[in-house]
Amino acid sequence: MRSISFVLNYLLPVAYLAVVVVYYRIFFHKQKELEQKTTIILSSLLVVHFFEISIRHLALNTIPLSNAFDSLSFLGFSILVVYLIIELTIKNKGTGLFILSFAFVTIFISAFNHQWQKETNALLSSPTFAIHASLTLIGYTALALSAIFAVLYIMQNRNMKSRRFGIIYDQLPAINYLERMSIRSVAIGIILLGVGILLGHWQAAKILDSYWPLDVKVIVSDIIWVVYLITYIFARLLKWRGRWMAYLAVSGFILLVAGSLAVVLLSESFHKFY
């Protein structure tokens, strides 16, 4: 089982890359025959990824999301699920290249960094942990999607304003849809991340006897979430929309990525389980 897991782990980024190539051909070469096959392609990839996650955790006898790279793989999986739902809902494939490229990057990094060690940390056996980690990750996914939609909004808005009726204009959906998706994703991201963080604090109180342990990851996550929440509330109260709201979503996500990277690379945290 371990060897199957090993093979699947390295096959997965190849499969994601192949799907990105399919979307590249749809976007830039307008291949209608491929357009008609995306649902089956995405569903197959979803099944393969689900199988990969299941096999890996059965082989290692762990639960999912036990380390950063495990989480990245789950993040890519979540993006794939969300994108499939979006595509089936709006019947536009123009955003696929961008969203699935992001998923591919997460899978690629994850595949080449798995530790292949059996998990021993007792904390990870708690069901609350799984909910905390899942909600946090789905929250991150929503914020990432919000940033992607915001970037696409900025691109399409620029096309519309400067009358650039090229291939990007053709393929991307309407600007009000991109704007709505970006704002909705931020809201969903803030809520899920908020609940995930709260659960984390509650779990910390149970295990570490403190709601706010002095851990750099916890502090940075809390700060980023509060900044996101306050900015979002202000933006809604001031009825910001369009370009400025898009810039805000992108800036927020850059802050989130920078903060998370800094924590992972520069500090020690009890949030490391491998």
């Binding site: 009358r163 053709d170 309407a174 929309r241 400025w244």
Partner: protein
């Protein structure tokens, strides 16, 4: 694919590619004329099938039958006489396609590849109507039916697998396309028309068809505004109420004959702020323009003029042109399928002709000998001759239907038999 395969079909046509509008008008056939001409051509020339397609851009007469190639010149003269014009006999305006070239041409026509606006879908409906008319008049044969079926299949394949029919190719639809790139769904949106002329009315009709909720009309004279508004169950305003009318509007179409801006930059800025930068899509179709072009710089304001819409149309037409090679591959695919069918069809038609030929020989010889032979035993003679004919035919049929034949070989055999027994003469 065997390019030399004989297909007894031809088309005589006048189209936008070969003739100016005055000639096309003169050559066009209305519905009643088509009905009459279908039967006339079918009976007068002993054709096996006739189909007449007449649209604003083309008039084409498709004919099938073994003698079509010989009859073409007479059919052209008959068409001239029917229309009382000399166009059909004039090679400058008319194109003639025969055999497989005619079939390929029909496939291109039904798919919109031969249309002035490449990929336009109306032509498919027009061909369907033309076929229905011919079919109901009883002037379609197996070959014409088959060509029509393969053409429909290729058209379906082309439209669903290429972008040949996508994107607006008229100015008024380009406005709708741009609006969809801002609002995605036009249902429930409010439209304001500035001016009450035909241009805004036509544009408004397209938006109404897409499900917009309401239409308001602003015009210099309230009476004219009311007249147009009543057509759309909308509200009417005078020009000095334009800002008030704009409050809850999503789309503005403007085309007045005024010399000055009806909406200047400062007005647009006020409106945009009041709307909290919610998208406002403006189409300025006037010359000189009604709306200050600087307004496009404001957040949430998307302002387009006639040239912009033309640019969208040109881009879409270019996109459609780029799809032609893909579409032609599908046409080749269905031409191959048609050729395969044609080879089989030719065999069965050749066998029928051959049987008729042998029966005729037998019958004529029997008639000639009947007076000289005693009447008793005549039944046995008839039986004997029939048996000989069947035996001789059997060998021919065996060779024609041999499984070792490829399409080219089959065609060669058919041609030899036709030549040997002079079957084309029949």
């Amino acid at each position: 694919m065997n390019n030399n395969q004989y297909v007894p079909v031809a088309v005589i046509g006048v189209s936008h590619k070969t003739a100016p509008v005055e000639i096309r008008e003169g050559a066009a056939l209305d519905n009643d004329s088509q009905q009459v001409l279908l039967t006339k051509l079918y009976n007068e020339f002993d054709l096996e099938g006739v189909l007449i397609l007449s649209t604003c851009n083309r008039t084409e007469v498709y004919v099938t039958g073994d003698e079509v190639n010989i009859l073409l010149s007479d059919i052209r003269k008959r068409l001239d006489a029917f229309k009382e014009v000399p166009y059909y006999s004039n090679d400058e305006y008319v194109y003639i396609h025969k055999g497989k070239t005619a079939v390929r041409h029909f496939f291109k026509v039904i798919s919109g590849l031969d249309s002035q606006m490449i990929g336009e879908p109306q032509i498919t409906g027009q061909v369907k109507l033309a076929y229905e008319q011919a079919h109901q008049a009883g002037v379609t044969d197996t070959l014409l039916n088959k060509i029509y079926n393969y053409a429909l299949q290729s058209e379906k394949k082309i439209r669903s697998n290429t972008f040949i029919s996508e994107g607006a190719v008229s100015i008024s639809f380009a406005g709708v396309e741009l609006a969809r790139k801002i609002f995605s769904n036009l249902e429930g949106l409010n439209v304001l028309l500035i001016g009450a002329g035909e241009t805004v009315e036509l544009a408004a009709t397209h938006f109404m068809e897409k499900g917009v909720r309401s239409i308001k009309v602003v015009n210099r004279t309230l009476q004219r505004a009311q007249q147009l508004a009543s057509k759309f169950n909308g509200q009417a305003f005078t020009l000095d109420q334009v800002e008030e009318a704009l409050t809850d509007v999503d789309i503005v179409i403007s085309a007045t004959a005024g010399e000055r801006y009806i909406l200047d930059y400062n007005q647009l800025k006020r409106i945009s702020k009041r709307r909290q930068h919610e998208p406002l899509f403006l189409i300025d179709l006037a010359m000189p323009r009604d709306i200050d072009p600087k307004g496009n710089q404001l957040d949430g304001i998307y302002l387009y003029n006639m040239d912009d819409l033309q640019e969208v149309v040109d881009k879409n037409l270019q996109n459609r042109r780029e799809e032609i090679p893909k579409a032609m591959k599908f046409i080749d695919q269905y031409m191959d399928e048609f050729s395969t069918w044609m080879a089989t069809y030719s065999i069965s038609s050749t066998i029928k002709q051959l049987r008729r030929y042998f029966d005729d020989v037998r019958y004529n010889e029997l008639q000639r000998l009947k007076s000289r032979l005693p009447q008793e035993g005549m039944e046995q003679v008839e039986y004997l001759t029939q048996s000989i004919v069947n035996k001789l035919l059997h060998q021919h049929i065996k060779i024609l239907k041999s499984k070792n034949n490829n399409a080219e070989r089959k065609q060669q055999k058919i041609e030899i038999i036709h030549e040997l027994y002079d079957l084309n003469r029949d």
